[in-house]
Each structure stands twice: as C-alpha cells, then as structure tokens.
C-alpha cells in the first residue's frame, strides 16, 4: 500500500513539475502515455523492446555462464587465482565505454560485438562474486563427495551450485540492472534498433516525450523480471534453510 501511494506521489510531482515547465523539457504524464500508445500501435515499441531484451538476455546469459565458471575455477585453484586475478582487476576497472568502443572498432558494428562488449563488462563482476562463494565452500562436503566418488556433474549440481546459489543470485540481481543499462549505451553507439537507438533518436530530435515513452515501458519490464523471475529464483534456492518461527 505504501509503495502504491509512493508511486502515486511520484506521478503527482511529475504532473506538477510538468505544469510549471515547458512540455519541450518535461511533458506531462498523460502526453507521455499517449506517446507510448502511439509507439505501441505502430509496432515500433514492441520490436525495439524485443531487440533490446534479446540483447540483455544474450549478454546476461553469456556473462553469467562464463563468469560463474571463471569464479569457481579461481575460488578453487589458488594458482589459477594468482594468475587470473590481475586480469580480473584490470577488466573490472576498464570503463564500460572503452570496452564498447574497442569492441566496435575491432569487430565492427555487429550484433556479436555489441553483445560481447556488454557481456565483457558484466563478466568480471560475476567472476569476483562467485569466487567469494567458491572460497567459502564447505571442505567437509567436498571430502564426502571424494569418498563417495560422486560423479563430476552430480557434484556440480548437488554440491557446488547449491552452495554458490546465494552468490549467483546476488550476481544475477546486480548483473541484470548493470547489463540493461550498458545495453542501451551499446545500442546508442552502434546499433540501428532497440531502446537505446530510439533514445538516441529522441536526443537528436530533442524529443523528451519519445525518450520517456521508451524508458518507462522498459523499466517496467525490468522491474517485472526482477519481481517475477529473480526473486522467486532466490526464494527457491534458499527453500531448504530452516526458517525462524
């Protein structure tokens, strides 16, 4: 209830601010929703949203898979950790924009370069988070698995991943918001469709209404993903934990 009231208050402030300023700088909520409806009717909204969501999903899956594998390896093998750590630190500190521009220069203005650049921005973050989890793994369970000669895939599924789940969930949560923000930059710089591309167009035309018409549905979708996919995933991986009464 408090959340809904808070949202209503946000719209009220927006409406009030819009009345006080020029619609060129801040259009009223009604005008923005009309623009959303218009973009939806033409189909442009959905095709651009779909393109952006596909890039978010592809980059996210790529970064999470490779980052998790790297994080496990680094957390488990001290020698590998020593070798790979400086690379990770450098990658963590290279600005996202530099990685994107370099990817476009080296691989051309392609879909692969766009997705690869986003994944590369998220990957070190995932690896560093999962590495913490891999370091904190229970050595006793590891020995148990060795004594019982549990097969590698079964070990991964039943012993390693459940222990890493809270770390992977944390990386997922922070990762998703990072990835979708970077995807917009990638689209703005080098793609000819997607929400980021439309925002660039709106910028060129100085069209704040169009800019917000793309931003609001996209934020709503990402919030829905967070609420209906990420949070249930977090709950399901911690289902075994005894709850305090």
């Amino acid at each position: 209830m408090a959340r809904i009231l808070s949202l209503v208050a946000l719209f009220a402030v927006w409406q009030f601010a819009a009345l006080e300023s020029s619609p060129r700088y801040l259009p009223a909520p009604g005008a923005v929703f009309a623009a959303i409806a218009q973009e939806a009717q033409s189909g442009a909204l959905f095709s651009n949203l779909a393109m952006t969501l596909w890039r978010v999903a592809a980059a996210f899956v790529l970064a999470m898979t490779l980052g998790t594998a790297l994080g496990i390896a680094m957390g488990r093998k001290p020698l590998f950790d020593k070798i790979a750590d400086p690379w990770l630190v450098i990658l963590l500190n290279v600005p996202a924009l530099v990685i994107i521009v370099l990817a476009y220069i080296w691989a051309g203005l392609t879909e692969a370069a766009a997705i690869g650049a986003v994944a590369l921005n998220k990957l070190p973050n995932t690896a560093a988070t999962v590495r913490e989890g891999a370091r904190a793994m229970d050595a006793g369970l590891d020995e148990m698995a060795r004594v019982y000669r549990i097969a590698p895939m079964a070990r991964l599924r039943h012993i390693v991943l459940p222990q890493l789940a809270p770390y992977i969930a944390a990386a997922t949560r922070s990762g998703l918001s990072l990835v979708w923000k970077i995807v917009l930059v990638v689209e703005l710089l080098g793609r000819s469709n997607g929400v980021g591309f439309e925002i660039n167009t709106a910028f060129q035309l100085f069209d704040v209404k169009l800019l917000l018409a793309y931003t609001i549905p996209f934020v709503a979708i990402m919030l829905a993903v967070e609420t209906f996919l990420v949070q249930p995933f977090e709950r399901s991986v911690s289902r075994w934990r005894p709850r305090a009464a």
Partner: protein, 246 residues
C-alpha cells in the same frame, strides 16, 4: 577368511604406514610426526576398532585410509574394488537435499527396496523427505550411516560415530550398527576413544599410543558379541588398560 574376490584382488585391508608428518609453518620448525610405524590388517568381514586418546592421530589415520590425504610414507591396500562408506564425525549431509536424496546422491545405483530397508532399520522411514536442518544430531548421524551402507561398501569407516550423543542413544545406535555390519559382513574400521564402544562392536581392537600414533597393543575378541558376558567385557577392559599403562 581372506577369500579372494573373483578377479583375484584380496578382500582385506592392509595398512602399513612408515610415517606421516604434518609440515610446520616453517620448513624446519614445527613439523609434527602424526603416525610412525603403524601396521595392521583386517580380513574380509572383520570389524576393527582403533582406540586411543584424543588427538593421538586416529582421525588422521582414517583420512589416509579414505584417500583424503595421500601425503605419507607407506602403503595402504583397500579391499577389492575399494568402494568406501564413511561416517565422518559430523554428519556432512547436504542441507539443501532431503534425507532420501542425500543417500541417493552418494549411492545412485542403490535399489529402492534396499534404501527402504536401511531407513526402516535406522528409524528414518518417517524422515525421508525432511531436510537435514530439521533433524536432531542423532537422526542426522543415522542418515550418514544409511548413506555409508547404501553404497554397499567394501570398507566401512566410522569416525567417532557416537560422539556427542547421549548415553542411551549412543548405545542404541551402536546396537543398530553392530546388527547391520554383522548382517552384511562389511569390513569395518571404527575410530573411537571409548573402549566400551570398541568392545561392543569390534572383532579386533588396535590400541594406539599417542603422538606419534603407533600400535601399542592388539586384542582379538574370539567370543561372538551376542555371547559376551559382563565378566568377559571387564576382562578385555582390564587387558586394554594394562596395555595402555605399560
């Protein structure tokens, strides 16, 4: 005994450790000999008990036998096939898997009826679907024992399986393990600091003296456990105490 398996490999456990050293923090200082010149063997189906004071290297020895630590001088020959069941001091269950899944993950080839029978014997039938976090320590130990037996081990290793259980519960669990081990004729090695536990379970008792662990005395129990009288048990205790004292 010593019946060879069809493929000719011996069915016995042979342990011959010349030395096990824990390196210290610095190369020359602080290195500690945990085990020195320790030899013993167990025939197929025999139950052996390693008894010694706390910290004398019993658990270290068990870890060498389990293959968890290969940094030692000597040889350890496991019974044929070398399939191990091990009950650690802590139950070491997967908290995110149910009791039944915990057993099945370690023993994927076990048949449903075998697992059901084990659960019945160990009083776990009502807890199959519980998560380990909901179990008492006594029940969790039982799950660990069920897991160790479900793999149909060639060698069962028990590391202080009764520690921190109250007397009556420990006694009941000891009876259950004795029954299961006898019925299945599993070669078993139990580590304990409690002489009575050893007498209640073992065919042969290996008394260790501590730091570094070496074999001080060996007792063979000829009487079947079911026929063991109070006096016989007392005599064994006396023998062991005398050996430890000398």
């Amino acid at each position: 005994m010593n019946a060879p398996f069809p493929d000719g490999a011996p069915a016995r456990l042979d342990v011959a450790i010349a030395e096990k050293i824990y390196p210290g923090a610095e190369a020359s200082r602080g290195a500690r000999r945990a085990i020195a010149n320790l030899h013993f063997s167990l025939a197929a189906g025999e139950v052996g008990a390693l008894v010694g004071p706390s910290g004398c290297g019993k658990t270290t020895l068990l870890r060498l036998i389990a293959g968890l630590d290969r940094d030692y001088a000597g040889t350890i020959t496991l019974p044929a096939h070398g399939r191990l069941g091990m009950v650690f001091q802590e139950p070491r269950l997967l908290p995110w898997r149910s009791v039944e899944e915990n057993v099945r993950i370690a023993a994927p080839q076990a048949r449903d009826e075998d697992i059901a029978a084990l659960f019945d014997t160990l009083g776990l039938a009502a807890h199959r679907g519980d998560f380990p976090g909901a179990l008492s320590l006594g029940l969790a130990r039982r799950v660990a024992i069920a897991r160790a037996l479900a793999v149909e081990p060639d060698l069962l290793l028990l590391d202080e399986p009764f520690v921190s259980l109250d007397g009556a519960l420990a006694q009941r669990l000891l009876q259950e393990i004795a029954t299961l081990v006898e019925a299945r004729r599993v070669t078993t090695l139990i580590v304990t600091h409690d002489l009575d536990e050893a007498i209640g379970l073992a065919d042969r008792i290996f008394l260790l003296s501590g730091a570094p662990a070496r074999l001080a005395h060996e007792i063979s129990i000829a009487t079947p456990r079911s026929a063991m009288t109070q006096e016989a048990a007392r005599a064994l205790r006396e023998e062991a105490r005398a050996a430890m004292a000398s």
